[in-house]
């Protein structure tokens, strides 16, 4: 019950998705995924799991999802483009799906 356990209901949008290998098909495991926030001196970095999946959960409400730029990198591949979509049945205010489409350089 110390200060590290206090509630703060300030949850904003989450980002999740896959890094996909367009040449071989399937997910890209252990790819570096960055979430850059425009006009903020900060970024988030994670890595994809064995299936190529990643997730950044709950940015604060004061972050406009348009200001979050997701990118992926992996040795031996380059990022061709990212695709954003609202997940089926999902709420754009709470979650956005982003796929990193990667190809051989």
């Amino acid at each position: 019950m110390d200060e590290d356990d206090e509630d703060q209901s300030n949850a904003g949008v989450s980002f999740f998705g896959f890094a996909r290998d367009l040449d071989r098909g399937g997910g890209v495991a252990d790819a570096k995924v960055s979430a850059e926030i425009k006009n903020r001196n900060a970024s988030l970095v994670t890595r994809t799991d064995d299936q190529g999946h990643f997730k950044f959960s709950g940015f604060s409400k004061d972050i406009d999802p348009k200001d979050v730029v997701i990118s992926c990198s992996k040795d031996g591949l380059k990022l061709q483009r990212t695709v954003r979509r609202q997940p089926p049945g999902g709420d754009a205010a709470t979650s956005i799906e982003v796929d990193c489409l990667m190809v051989k350089p």
Binding site: M1, E3, D4, N41, G58
Partner: protein
């Protein structure tokens, strides 16, 4: 500014210990030993098991603050090396879950010959007083989310206090609110109230209280769940010598413990205004006193870290700012927070001066504002960094920079103890990069940076050990072998083995990340471990930690 209080520890407890020294057990027989290197040996048995492996046997000489512990092997034999027990009258005690000595045990250790003392154990009628907090958590019914709030209780006391209580769910609401207003740097020997009142939402206190009332004695005379225990040590876990150095006052709370190049052991006192130093060769204890910057606020310092020149820096908790102890002049210098950063809730728990020679800057944190501060040593000015501006945050989540390490450029790496990330702050640009751990809500706690650019850390709430590879920007995790052990800190030794300690299970973990194999050394008594340290200058390496709640410093020497 400093006041030196030095005490030759030997003799402090002489009068009190002589008063309670127990008679020699008639079962003991002094026998010649084949080995001149043995001072005291014997076999531990019980009617139920015969020869018992994994029983801790501790010997404390009358008047000495030093207790030496060894562990019985597969044949039930224990053996104290001759260089660890000087001649004299010793009290013996044991630790073996479910057992106690049949009677008082004391023995005279002689010079140049071994003494044999066989020890007979009997089953205890009531095992509950022997359970660790981890064993209570394993025993209690309920899910992880219900049990997790209990890990906060262990900052000040074991969970035995909780499960023996008779508070109803409603009564717990008041208790939990009262507990929240004690300072983090409180022990049962020295309780300190916060200056600024903290609110705990009624619904959350009620939710926790309702669960606690199902596991305590509010509705029953005896727990209606089975009391489960962890196994005794076996094999490699029995090949160890543990030395405990009692402090001269029960109120001393060693938090961070580190050795210096001269072999002294230094520690931060979590609840009193002293920097402590132990000479493990003689047991001599010295305290360096500093004036409290804010006398009405809770006393004590948390993090203790050396700078490049071997001076010590203390994070001053509710006293505000950081303190430098110049080891050459033996004087303190306090770096207070400026008024715009200071408040009744300002709290500096961490300090990182290791690479301050690079740019003249020392990192610290402010728990209250969940931010990072950087001190310019020359001017005394602080800069504030919010590495989580716009970062993920939500219900039941908040950020709290905690354990710190610095690379050769004095870039900062920190643990987000409030949530689930490792963070980096660039020393030149203050740009922050946040790396979430694979396990959510892991609450990384303390950390160390090795010479290969790997950050090793404890995931307190996730019950895992972890490593952040700075170059690859990737995190790897390993489960702690014992559930509900909640590791506080880790330290990688020169052999590539990872050591860890916790507040809850009275065990020290030695873990090989290459093989996944682990050894857990059981400690002789209830031990609340915080920061740990490995002295790599010895062979084998030596483990050091403080017993934060019981005024002792602990040394572990594996017998590899």
């Amino acid at each position: 500014m400093s006041v030196i209080r030095s005490t030759a520890l030997a003799g402090i407890f002489l009068s009190s210990l002589l008063g309670v020294l127990l008679p020699v057990n008639p079962a003991f027989a002094e026998l010649p030993s084949d080995s001149p290197n043995v001072a005291l040996t014997g076999r531990v048995t019980s009617p139920q098991e015969g020869a018992m492996e994994g029983v801790l046997v501790s010997a404390q000489r009358a008047g000495s603050p030093i207790t030496v512990t060894v562990v019985t092997n597969q044949a039930g034999l224990y053996s104290f090396p001759a260089d660890r027990l000087s001649p004299g009258k010793y009290t013996l005690r044991i630790r073996a879950i479910g057992y106690e000595l049949e009677g008082p045990a004391a023995v005279d250790v002689a010079a140049k010959r071994a003494v044999t003392a066989d020890l007979a154990l009997r089953k205890v009628d009531d095992i509950s007083s022997q359970l660790t907090s981890t064993e209570w958590l394993i025993s209690m019914p309920g899910g992880s989310e219900q049990k997790r709030p209990l890990i906060e209780c262990m900052s000040c006391h074991t969970l035995e206090r909780v499960v023996r209580s008779k508070f109803t769910a409603e009564e717990f609401v008041g208790v939990l609110k009262r507990m929240a207003n004690y300072a983090n740097n409180s022990t049962m020997q020295k309780v300190q109230a916060r200056i600024a009142e903290r609110e705990v939402p009624d619904d959350r206190a009620r939710r926790v209280g309702e669960y606690l009332a199902t596991v305590n004695l509010s509705k029953r005379d005896r727990w209606d769940y089975a009391l489960k225990t962890l196994p005794r040590p076996t094999g490699a876990a029995t090949r160890v010598i543990i030395t405990e150095y009692d402090m001269p006052r029960s109120t001393i709370a060693p938090h961070d413990v580190r050795t210096d190049a001269e072999g002294f052991v230094w520690y931060s006192n979590f609840v009193e205004p002293y920097l402590g130093r132990l000479d493990p060769r003689t047991g001599a204890h010295t305290e360096f006193a500093y004036k409290l910057p804010k006398p009405n606020f809770p006393a004590g310092a948390l993090a203790l870290e050396p700078d490049h020149d071997g001076n010590w820096w203390l994070a001053m908790m509710f006293q505000g700012g950081v303190m430098k102890f110049d080891t050459r002049t033996r004087t303190f210098r306090h770096y207070p927070l400026p008024p715009e950063l200071d408040s009744d809730t300002a709290q500096q728990s961490m300090v990182m001066p290791r690479e301050s020679h690079v740019d003249g800057k020392v990192w610290t944190n402010d728990v209250n504002t969940h931010s990072i501060l950087r001190l310019d040593v020359a001017s005394g000015a602080y800069e504030r960094v919010d590495p989580f501006e716009g970062m993920p945050i939500g219900a039941n989540r908040q950020h709290s920079p905690y354990g710190m390490a610095a690379d050769k450029n004095n870039d900062l790496y920190f643990m987000d103890f409030g949530d689930e990330s490792v963070g980096r702050v660039d020393a030149k640009t203050f740009r922050a990069t946040i790396y979430p751990t694979p396990t959510s809500h892991s609450r990384p706690r303390r950390t160390m940076l090795d010479d290969k650019g790997r950050l090793w850390f404890a995931e307190f709430a996730a019950n895992k050990l972890a490593m952040f590879d700075i170059e690859r920007e990737s995190i790897k995790e390993w489960d702690a072998p014992t559930p509900h052990s909640y590791p506080y800190d880790v330290y990688l030794d020169r052999n590539g083995e990872l050591w860890s300690g916790s507040m809850s299970d009275d065990r020290v973990l030695r873990f090989d990340p290459q093989t996944g194999k682990s050894i857990e050394y059981l400690l002789p008594r209830q031990t609340n471990i915080r920061r740990i340290f490995i002295d790599n200058s010895t062979t084998p390496v030596t483990f050091w930690a403080g017993n934060n709640h019981h005024a002792a410093i602990i040394k572990i020497e594996p017998l590899d």
